[in-house]
Amino acid sequence: MKCFPFPPSGSSDRLTSATAAFRRIERQLLTCFEASGFEEVHPPLVDDAFAFAFAGEELPKIIGPDGQILALRADFTGPIARMAASRYAKQENPLKLSYVGPVFRYRNGFREFYQAGVELFDAPPEEASFQVVQLALHALEALGLSPFVVLGSNAILHALLPHADETLRLALSRKSHSQLQLYCTTNKLPENIAAALHALLSLAGSADVLSRAEHMLPPPCKMPLLALKALISRLPQPCVGVDLALVRTPSYYNDLVFDVFVQGVPKAVAGGGRYDALTQRFGAQRVAVGAAFDLEALCSLEAPCPTQAPGPSGVS
């Protein structure tokens, strides 16, 4: 039987120069993680489908021989949270783990993504959040980039509306006043909550947004605002923004969330946040914060421009 000479849609061959660029970036990131005291771990490629932070339709699932539902690794955070809850349960000092490798999801078809990242468990939240955001900035600077970090907090949305659904999260994440208004009317939200949600959309900019937010948002939002303020005061101002409508997927982030942008890439190249309740899924209670880097996005910057990619004969 003759086989189609290319991998299926969503997968791709990485050729020599791209692989070299990949390895270079991967090594630099891991060196950076290691210098900050993070040790590399490697969870399995095929795992229990319920171990992942991502869930549902996005998981490429496999049915095991005994009928158990397995999945190709959809994220590192879930399995690493499980390690923290089981294998490393007895460790008393803060647990600092890092990873690098591919994850697989269905998103507009099957896709393979390559990620590197860090997870920090059990450290005092304020200090840990600072360390991870700072590491994200340093790691990108070490790659010769000028990162810009945007900070938000899911705790603010939670304080306003404890059970935010996907429709609301989407309207906020797109900064769509029209979609938000439609949501508020359809769900008959109280006027003060609707007004506060609309305010979140306009609360995006430099650090002074936080002072404005204190006047515009109701008292339960005060604690997370203060936490953001404390964090921002420790970061270099010109490369920090605040976005109180920033929501990230998956939805396990319960407090700080952040995205990092660099010139020349049309989407976030890194991001993360606090997920203090995820280890509960595996029977433990360890507060945590993490960051992940999108290696493909970072490689797109390297612009390897191979002299001539070897193509199969007969295909121009």
Partner: protein, 215 residues
């Protein structure tokens, strides 16, 4: 320089009016140039359906597009301003004295549309199952020939429907012109993007459009 995706479709005229002196001049617009520079702005006239993807992928920093096109697109972009013009409705239409529920119940729900994703979502939200017929041209013909029993399409005045003896069965979504922005550009070129949003918001205000958010 901020790069702006301009719609070549039904919103074109109003968008150019709104941009006023900031719009590319008539000579440039009618030339064969693909990128038009006007002061500190660079314009990229595009087919409407391509605008969300250009903005998502960074081909343009911001764009102006109808929410009909935006809802149909999978692009992940910010949507910070509703300009309040180009107003119409996305609706289910059919022959008089029919309903979606009745067509569904009799297994005769065949929906023709130029907006397959929007239609699929609308059917799912209503718990309806039907045959989706994606088309590119005039949709009403599908109904008149009996190929489809319902259509999903934009309705502005309702005249085409009326002239062909068709009626609106259900409303899917209100439609208007939106400003969209690339997620990275929104932060890395924040002052330029802000200034552009502010400009359009002010102009929409002056023109009396029910834009959102209000100044």
């Amino acid at each position: 320089m901020l790069r702006i995706a301009l719609p070549k479709g039904r919103l074109k005229k109003t968008v150019l009016q709104l941009l006023g002196p900031q719009a590319p001049d008539a000579e440039a617009l009618s030339s064969r140039k693909l990128l038009l520079t006007q002061g500190p702005l660079e314009f990229l006239p595009l087919k409407d359906a391509d605008i969300p993807i250009y903005v998502e992928r960074g081909g343009a920093d911001v764009g102006i597009v109808g929410s009909d096109v935006l809802n149909e697109s999978k692009a992940d972009v910010l949507e910070p301003l509703d300009l309040g013009f180009g107003i119409c409705k996305m609706v289910f239409c059919g022959k008089p004295h029919t309903s979606l529920a009745a067509l569904h119940a009799s297994g005769q729900l065949r929906v023709a549309t130029k907006f397959p994703r929007t239609t699929l979502r609308a059917l799912q939200q209503r718990g309806l199952m039907g045959d989706l017929i994606p088309l590119y041209g005039t949709i009403e013909v599908a109904l008149l020939t009996g190929m489809a029993t319902a259509i999903v399409d934009l309705v502005e005045t309702g005249r085409t429907l009326q002239e062909n003896g068709l009626v609106v069965l259900e409303e899917v979504a209100p439609i208007s012109a939106r400003v969209i922005a690339n997620r990275a550009s929104f932060w890395l070129r924040r002052h330029e993007v802000d200034a552009f949003l502010q400009l359009l918001s002010t102009r929409a205000n002056e023109a009396g459009y029910a834009h959102f958010p209000l100044l």
